[in-house]
């Protein structure tokens, strides 16, 4: 039960950081997606259900904050899928090993790319913006920036993994 409330607490903190502090780290209009890092972390360390649940509710809150743009439900959908994919990598015996190595970055990159592909496929419906252009200008840079931001937790896990 304690772990459940801790997960909710950390989820809300990550959401708060994403909406208040992260926009000030923007390179142009590209920002790292801390929520996705957290969802992938949950997928690797706890499996499908916590990752998908966090993905759905955090995505829903992000959609709500985006204003009345007719896309409520979009981030919840894409982040649920990302959580589901990350959940496949759950292995109780290798959690720290995955989190402290390049596998974490690979899983995050894959989840981020699928997340962005799905996101733009729906987001750009009816708009006269090219889908591939949006992926190149937004999807890939966002994935790279998210990977860079994920280096910090990776180093923390690597240190913990090395400490006997």
């Amino acid at each position: 039960m304690q772990r459940f409330f801790l997960t909710i607490g950390v989820s809300l903190l990550v959401l708060l950081a994403q909406t208040t502090l992260v926009p000030h780290l923007a390179i142009g209009t590209i920002i790292p997606d801390l929520l996705l890092i957290w969802i992938v972390y949950l997928g690797i360390s706890r499996g499908h259900v916590p990752a998908m649940t966090a993905g759905f509710f955090l995505g829903l809150l992000m959609d709500t904050l985006a204003g009345d743009d007719g896309m409520l439900g979009l981030s919840s959908l894409t982040k649920t899928v990302a959580g589901f994919l990350a959940g496949y990598t759950f292995n109780e015996n290798k959690i720290l090993q995955i989190l402290s190595g390049y596998q974490f970055l690979l899983i995050l990159a894959a989840a981020s790319l699928v997340h962005d592909l799905l996101y733009f496929l729906i987001f750009l419906q009816g708009a006269d913006l090219a889908w591939n252009e949006a992926i190149v200008r937004y999807g890939l840079p966002t994935t790279l920036y998210t990977l860079a931001a994920a280096l910090l937790p990776l180093f923390v896990f690597a240190r913990r993994h090395r400490t006997p």
Binding site: P23, H24, G28, G55, D68, S76, T80, Y138, T142
Partner: protein
């Protein structure tokens, strides 16, 4: 039978949960304009706005010295410009009276602080700390001292969400100030805007100022949007490509003004009647 179904549900719980969340998300996407969804948005916006306001001081503090210097420089430039504009305005009033032209209506500005920014993969919106109790309504234009920033798309009692020009749904009727060529400004999915629907034969040059035009029913005319940074002619295309660098620096937006501009209702009614 029920026991078996339950066993299946437990065994494949992740797939059931995935289906449930996808179903819920899709249902929400389909019901985006309902009153209930709008009410939920408004309440969440109010709660999140309070939190964002609390944490909003952190970056503002670090940017304070830079901002002070920029403001001092701007103050000098503007003082000089105000003097010249005062003269021009008096002259303009005299000339309008001579020609019998109608005076453009003035409208109040509501100042607001940017307390949150959503730069989420193409949904570039801002949260500001002015809402319905300050007189802010949906579709009101939002400007800064640099020019047009966007328009209000959602409001709660104390906060509003602003759709910036860097949004896929943003469209603004615009005009080249020098040659009076009209077009539509939209975002190009990068850091630039584009002036659309400008035939190749019309006169648009690099460095031209782009302003809002009289054709818009949302934005008042004459607000700066940006400067033409490049023009390109693509063979076989009817229109030229006009890249516009926005006047507003969206990376450093901290203070904005909501223009309490309400378009002429009789004009909108007439336009609607003609469309029908």
């Amino acid at each position: 039978m029920l026991k078996r179904l339950y066993d299946y549900a437990v065994l494949f719980k992740e797939y059931f949960l995935l289906a449930l969340f996808l179903l819920l998300s899709t249902a929400l996407l389909a019901r985006n304009n309902s009153d209930q969804v709008r009410a939920i948005r408004s309440s969440t916006l109010a709660a999140a706005g309070v939190l964002q306001e609390v944490f909003g001081f952190v970056p503002a503090y670090f940017a304070l010295r830079h901002e002070n210097r920029v403001l001092r420089e701007l103050n000098l430039t503007l003082s000089d410009e105000v003097n010249r504009l005062r003269e021009s305005r008096l002259e303009n009033i005299r000339l309008r009276q001579m020609l019998g032209l109608k005076e453009r209506p003035a409208f109040p500005y509501i100042s607001a602080r940017v307390v949150g920014a959503q730069l989420q993969t193409g949904r570039n919106t801002l949260t500001i700390d002015a809402g319905e109790r300050n007189g802010v309504r949906s579709a009101m234009p939002v400007v800064t001292d640099q020019g047009l920033a966007g328009k209000v798309i959602a409001t709660s009692t104390g906060f509003s969400v602003v759709q910036t020009l860097m949004h896929k749904d943003s469209r603004v009727s615009a005009r080249v100030q020098r040659s009076r060529v009209n077009g539509i400004i939209r975002w190009n999915a990068g850091r630039m805007l584009q002036l659309m629907h400008v035939p190749k034969t019309l006169d648009v040059q690099t460095g031209d100022m782009i302003i809002t035009s009289e054709f818009s029913s949302i934005f008042p005319p004459g607000i700066r949007i940006g400067v033409v940074s490049a023009t390109r002619q693509i063979p076989g295309e009817l229109f030229q490509v006009v890249d516009v660098s926005p006047s507003v620096d969206f990376d450093r937006l901290e203070e904005v003004f909501v223009a309490a501009f309400t378009p002429d209702s009789s004009r909108i009614a007439l336009q609607r009647r003609l469309q029908e």
